[in-house]
Amino acid sequence: MNVATTELTRRFGRTMAVAGVTLDAGPGVYGLLGPNGAGKTSLLRMLATVIPPSSGRIRLLGHDPDIYRQRRQIRRRLGYVPQNLGFYPGFTVVEFVEYFALLKEMPSAEVHRAVAAAVERVGLGDKAKAKLRTLSGGMLRRVGIAQAIVNEPELLLLDEPTAGLDPAQRVAFRALLRDLGQRATVIVSTHLVEDVGAACTQVALMDRGKIVFHGTPDELTARGVGTTAAGDAPLERGYSAVLAETRS
């Protein structure tokens, strides 16, 4: 398993953001759904080794992130796109991605080729020399994805990656996710259930810090059949049905 968590919690002051999440994930694309404040971002930040858990255990790519040396090993094989993607406006697309390739300790000789490949892969080849300050929000999001995949990560964590992408870009992005999911564990946190339906092999639904559903998109869809749950699509109705059931 690339991701194995046991009774993971994370507390911010008096708020329990993540309240005992147990999750196992191997290669594939995992969708992480849930309403605002469900704890998705906190869970992803813990999986990205950005913040430590308050309690519980995590093993990522066979390593314990609590131990510095192992955490470093994990980070070399990790890709992460946070919800609020910052960027250095003066850097070009290539420089920004190269910067992260170097910070992920990629072999120096491989960096140039890997950066070019990552930039091409997110469709920004023609903007490679453009300064980030000149790019649109959607393009910046793609730069964020490029930096995340530049090291061909075995664990890729994406927090709202399709925010700001136009429909065509989202379709392309889903294809990219499916491709990456063939060898890596990709966890995508999103509000957009159609992304999950189109790209994910597994889906988890979080509410109030807990995982309240774990299964395939089809299984989630099935939970909405025959209910009066809100939603324009079958998967949305399944989502709403599970949430309503949990909260009732």
Binding site: E105, S108, A117, G144
Partner: protein, 489 residues
């Protein structure tokens, strides 16, 4: 975006470790390309021209004055700039919301920060060394005697990593858009204020990189010409600055998240070693004393070989009594000659008059507080052949303009030379001696209507040949105080 599989780009941590320098080099190159300091270079160059270059060029081409002026004034430009830029860059992760993204990367935060700091420092050094090169090249082309003084330039250069580290530490530990202006102004004020705490040659505050010599003397044209530039204080300042740089860079590696336990231990060791070096240097600066040759000597570091005079061939004027100056001051010789020639014409050939006037080295003595007395080293006259040793006004710890120099030569130096010939050893001059001096110098310092003033006018009215003839026969008696006013022709 495309789902087309691309060639696998495996991460190879083991190999990455084998070539850390190549990756660090690429990281540094990237930081160099996008460093804010690069954009500040034209501003820094313009300020250098305005605050350092132009005032330095107003002084005669003396390496000591140019180098010491540069050390003090250039830092006033570079320190706030480099501190501000470093603080700005150190806080950029937080300002741009990059903290999460960067926290998930494997390279230690310390290494990432060091790359940014190194790039900032590199550009600052390039700018500084470029400015120094221009100033020194122009000084050399103006025919300054001797060679460039590298110690002041070295202290200035070593200040930049230290202040860059200071700004960087402030920006990294307190990331905010307000950190930059605050820390830049604070560093400038701190630098300027610490120098104001210097009282005498034993002050530990002399460790400040602004200080190029005895602080109260400023850029002193009288030092480092007859004797070498004493490196004691610069060495202490370099130790201090290196220690400060090391300690501040170490501080960056202390917070949790900067790196692993080993790395943080190394950071703690660096901080401790840096602090110890800085404290040692400050203590050493406190043991300084004003060397008779005008520089600060640190006993623990002093090399007696630096006490030996620098050999030189004097440059002499073509006057009735030749005036010989140190070649470093040869630029002043025409002014000196023009000012003193009338007096020398009157004195040439008189019994016991000097056959040559030599510029001599000054000797310095620390007075109470910040006072320094500067006087001639050795006796005024030496025999075989009779030579008079004088200090030029420019050796009195202040660069002076040509017109001021002329006035001082006439009112002070010419009078000293004259009294050395006609005045004898007595401190109080006789009325006859005063009258003769007044007549030859063509001054009117005597109260009008007095007998002395009348005698001076009478003597001045004589032709130069008549005065010279009278002096030739009476100078011995005049010197001995045996001539009365009535006996003056």
């Amino acid at each position: 975006m495309t789902a087309t599989p691309v060639t696998q780009v495996p991460t190879r941590p083991a190999r990455a470790r084998r070539v850390p320098l190549a990756a660090a080099g690429r990281l540094l190159r990237l930081e160099l390309r996008r460093n804010v300091m690069l954009w500040m270079l034209p501003i820094v160059a313009a300020l250098f021209w305005l605050i350092t270059y132009r005032p330095a060029m107003a002084y005669p081409p003396l390496w000591n004055v140019r180098a010491m002026t540069m050390q003090t004034t250039a830092l006033a430009i570079f320190v706030p700039t480099v501190v501000g830029v470093a603080a700005w860059l150190a806080s950029r992760e937080a300002r741009h919301g990059m903290t999460d993204l960067l926290s998930g990367t494997s390279r230690p935060r310390w290494a990432r920060q060091l790359a940014t700091w190194a790039a900032t420092t590199c550009w600052a050094l390039v700018a500084y060394l470029g400015c120094v090169a221009v100033l020194y090249a122009v000084t050399a082309r103006q025919g300054a005697w001797g060679g460039p003084l590298w110690w002041p330039a070295a202290v200035g250069a070593a200040s930049l990593p230290a202040f860059s580290a200071l700004g960087f530490a402030a920006g990294a530990l307190r990331p905010s858009r307000f950190t930059t202006p605050l820390v830049a102004v604070a560093a400038f004020l701190a630098l300027e204020l610490t120098a104001q705490f210097i009282h005498g040659d034993h002050s530990p505050w002399q460790v400040s990189p602004l200080v190029a010599g005895p602080w109260e003397n400023g850029a002193d044209p009288g030092v480092a010409t007859f004797y070498p530039y004493l490196p004691d204080l610069p060495i202490v300042q370099l130790i201090f600055l290196t220690g400060l740089t090391t300690a501040l860079l170490g501080v960056l590696g202390l917070p949790a998240g900067s790196g692993g336990r080993r790395l943080r231990r190394s950071a703690a060791a660096l901080t401790t070693a840096g602090l110890l070096a800085a404290i040692t240097a400050t203590t050493l600066a406190g043991t300084g004393r004003l060397d008779p040759r005008g520089m600060i000597a640190i006993p623990a570091l002093h090399n007696p070989a630096d006490n030996r005079p620098v050999p030189y061939t004097p440059v002499c004027s073509d006057t009735p009594i030749p005036i010989c100056v140190h070649p470093a001051y040869s630029v002043h010789l025409p002014t000196v000659t023009a000012a003193l020639e009338p007096v020398l014409s009157e004195l040439a050939g008189l019994p016991d008059a000097p056959v040559r006037i030599n510029q001599t080295a000054a000797t310095y003595r620390q007075e109470s507080g910040n006072g320094v007395s500067i006087s001639r080293a050795g006796p005024a006259m030496s025999d075989t052949p009779p030579t008079l040793h004088i200090l030029l006004p420019i050796q009195l710890a202040r660069p002076v303009a040509t017109d001021v120099l002329t006035a001082e030569l006439w009112t002070n130096t010419a009078r000293d030379i004259l009294y050395n010939v006609i005045g004898g050893d007595r401190r109080e001059k006789t009325e006859a001696q005063q009258a003769v001096a007044e007549a030859i110098l063509k001054t009117s310092t005597l109260p009008p209507g007095t007998r002395t003033a009348a005698a001076a006018q009478r003597f001045a009215a004589l032709s130069p040949a008549a005065r010279h003839a009278w002096l030739t026969s009476h100078v011995a008696a005049l010197r001995a105080g045996q001539i009365t006013l009535a006996e003056l022709p």
